[in-house]
Amino acid sequence: MKFIKYLLVGLVFGIVLTKSEAVSWYRIYEMFHFQSFHMFGIIMTAVVVGVVGIQIIKRGKVKDITGQPINIPDKEKGFTNYIIGGILFGLGWGLVGTCPGPMYILIGAGFWGIGVVLLGALVGTYLYGVLKDKLPH
């Protein structure tokens, strides 16, 4: 039963991303062509809510659901991996219009073709695992 809360959070996430149309290829195209504020508005609002929430958590020393202090790990310092990885990710995002969250959501919504994208993403992840030590980070 401890998993039910994760199922519910995922459910809300899936509904919101579908109803906001952030899962839509069209909306991603429109975003990259600066032809609508919609996607930028979604991301900016989420980040503003996130910044305020995380500041409250940090300053109020809020405990998590089990009573442990909340610790949000910092990202490792670096540049090369973030910029190159980011650009490769962006190329894929601009092409098929789906980042990892929407992949699952769209398959759930019955877009079976996105299963091919998920397969590609799994292969891509595997390739990264194979090549990791040979890549500049």
């Binding site: 998993f3 579908t18 069209y26 973030y82 910029i83 990710f89 695992g129």
Partner: protein, 186 residues
């Protein structure tokens, strides 16, 4: 323009996504959808050959449950919470897409040109879908996160690496969307 069974507004949607991220932090976890790809590789046995996949993937089962919930959410939203009035694009966008022979949305989330029945029988389209997925999967792991981990969680936590990654997302997206996409769809 906005309605419950049509398109949800950006401010309500953004607020709820922020809340989802904060809830996962409150549960003692972090919001990151691409981690599940690594978890799935491990669960499929990739750890046998590659050290990167040798970790306790069962500790990540909670995140797979989030994925399951998200899939259910996608089903519920399209089946019960949609009246087919959504995805109203900028008319200029529709015109541009037409020039690339990509059909207008008319309420659909994805173009038939990408995932319609006919498209899925074309080796070229299948290769495009696979390539897109490959780039997303490889890039996200190389960058250490995707839109949820970097653009939402990382930026919210004021992480410079996440800002670099997000700038990368946009450089790549702009190059694809403006320069390469017309080549793929002509």
């Amino acid at each position: 323009m906005y309605s419950f069974y049509g398109t949800w507004s950006w401010y309500v949607s953004g607020l709820l996504i922020g809340v989802v991220m904060l809830l996962l932090i409150y549960f003692g976890k972090t919001f990151g959808m691409s981690s599940n790809l690594r978890t799935m590789c491990s669960a499929f046995g990739a750890g046998k050959n590659v050290a990167f996949f040798r970790f306790d993937w069962k500790s990540q089962r909670w995140n797979l449950v989030v994925v399951l919930g998200a899939m259910l959410g996608g089903y519920i939203a399209t089946t019960y919470l949609s009246d087919g009035s959504g995805v109203n694009l900028n008319p200029q966008t529709v015109t541009e897409l037409q020039q690339m022979h990509i059909d207008a949305p008319e309420g659909k989330l994805l173009p038939d040109a990408l995932v319609g029945e006919e498209a899925l029988q074309s080796p070229k389209m299948l290769a495009i879908l696979l390539l897109g997925g490959l780039l997303v999967g490889f890039g996200t792991r190389y960058a250490g996160g995707c839109t949820s981990g970097h653009a939402i969680t990382g930026l919210s936590n004021l992480q410079l690496p996440s800002l670099i990654a997000v700038i990368g997302f946009f450089i790549g997206g702009l190059i694809m969307s403006w320069l390469l996409l017309p080549l793929f769809f002509n």
